[in-house]
Amino acid sequence: MRNGTFWALAIVVGIVLLVVTRLVTNEYFFFAGYVVLQYIVLSTAWNILGGYTGYTNFGTAAFFALGAYTAVVLHKTTTLPIPIMMVAGGVVSGIVGLGMGYLTLRLRGVFFAIATLAMAIVVQTFIVNWDYVGGSRGIYIIRPQQAPLTGSYIEYLYSIMLIMAVISVAIARTIERSRLGLGFAAIRDDELAAEAGGVPTLRLKLIATALSGALMGMAGAPLPYYVTYLDPASSFNLAYAVNSVAMPVIGGMTSWIGPVIGAVLLGTIQQLATVTISSALNLLIVGLLLILFVIIAPNGIVGLVRSRRRARSAAAVPAPQPATREAA
């Protein structure tokens, strides 16, 4: 897809979603849609570090909740609008991401993943013991009586998250096609070879952790207004970490569209299951789908489609080399 086409499509999808929602009378749609969009942001953010540079982060919940608690602090001290709070949440989570990266990026593979999980627990402990933001009791957030724009407050939150989703996908896609994205891919494939090719690996990894953390924090900032009651147990829920890993894995980690597909698919299934079966079933579905995909399509839906295409073009034009292993 060309740049122009992408932007046109992104704007069209955004506008269509905004217009269609004006026709919806059931408020539940916004509640459910908000969650799916939030997961698009989270999984896209996760994929910048996890998919592009190959560092598995299990600390999504911490970055997300830090954004939410930044908003709580700002809610108690100021009357700033939510978009500003999102920027503030992004800055806080971005800085934490940078710090975490600096301390842990010497670790590779599973050790890095463990370190991020540990970091999430440290941050949660900090929040639990911080009385000002409610501590372990949690805190009630009273929404303003009227939404800044037309419609209900939940509609406003939904619109904000929709814009945020479009922005984060656009960022991911821009990176993917840039010099930075190529450098990330080099790090993912082989760090020593990347250094030998002149790639400043530490600097690039810090960019990835900071950016990934910042987007997660931005996604978290509106959460207090969405739930109206925020407590550490739910805001640091492991489900955020598990989902933001599972969605890119299922969708495909090498391309910006992968996390989007994964988030829409998994997010929608979870919302449907919550309404029709039971809310406890969510993670079971995620787990089963994850196992299924790791076995049958380790490169996700995007990988599955690509290998089909490769196989077909290889069959059409006899190549000097036999068909690739992927096609087999």
Binding site: R179, L182, G183, A185, A186, R188, D189, D190, L192, A193, A194, E195, A196, G197, G198, V199, P200, T201, L202, T254, P320, Q321, T324, R325
Partner: protein, 244 residues
Amino acid sequence: MSALLEVNGLGKRFGGFVALEGINLAIERGDRLGLIGPNGSGKSTLVNCLTGTLRNESGSVVFDGKQLDGMVAHQRTRLGLARSFQLPKPFHTLNLVNNIRIPLLYTVNARPGTHLSEAEAETRCHELLGQVGLADKAMRLPRDLTQVEMRKMELARAVATQPRLLFADEAMAGLSPSEVEEILAVLFRLNEQGITIVLIEHIMRAVMSFSTRLVVLVAGQKIADGEPQEAIRNPQVERAYLGE
């Protein structure tokens, strides 16, 4: 003019194991230097210390008048030190063009005064692949390559950084005699273009035909350095390779 690369008293330990000790070496511009030694003698460790993959504890390295100590690998690459790896390390999710594009964007374009446009970089990628006979596989992934092609890509990627000094770390290990000739031809051509080359190799026939100078490492120490025929007749070298 001083030598291109000067190594003074370089030492490296892994815990209690002394991998390299008191290495002194001067590499002149245009040299074709063969670096040989039995397995575990410290050849690759030396290359790793010189290119910044490992940190040496003692000694100093001066490249073209610049002190390299404390510099990380990518900074040394940008100064003009390139290497190929003993086991090829391709970027396996990227096609060959993009494998070559990385050193172009991150090394050549990072040097002051040079900037390749997107189109120029693209052309250069194909040229470099053409030089090693991989032009028709430009859009393939590394896993579609044979061993010898993989080695060639590894060399092309190192050459893409426009180095002044290239370390070819066992670029021919496991190849058939005719494939060895192919790689040697590539290396000779690069040397003619003005790149100083250090060849680390076990295949003696290749080393002897390529090198203008031979350095022999045994157990982390340099025991011979000089004209190849003389160096291999050195009694210490004979002892290391053939026993008493």
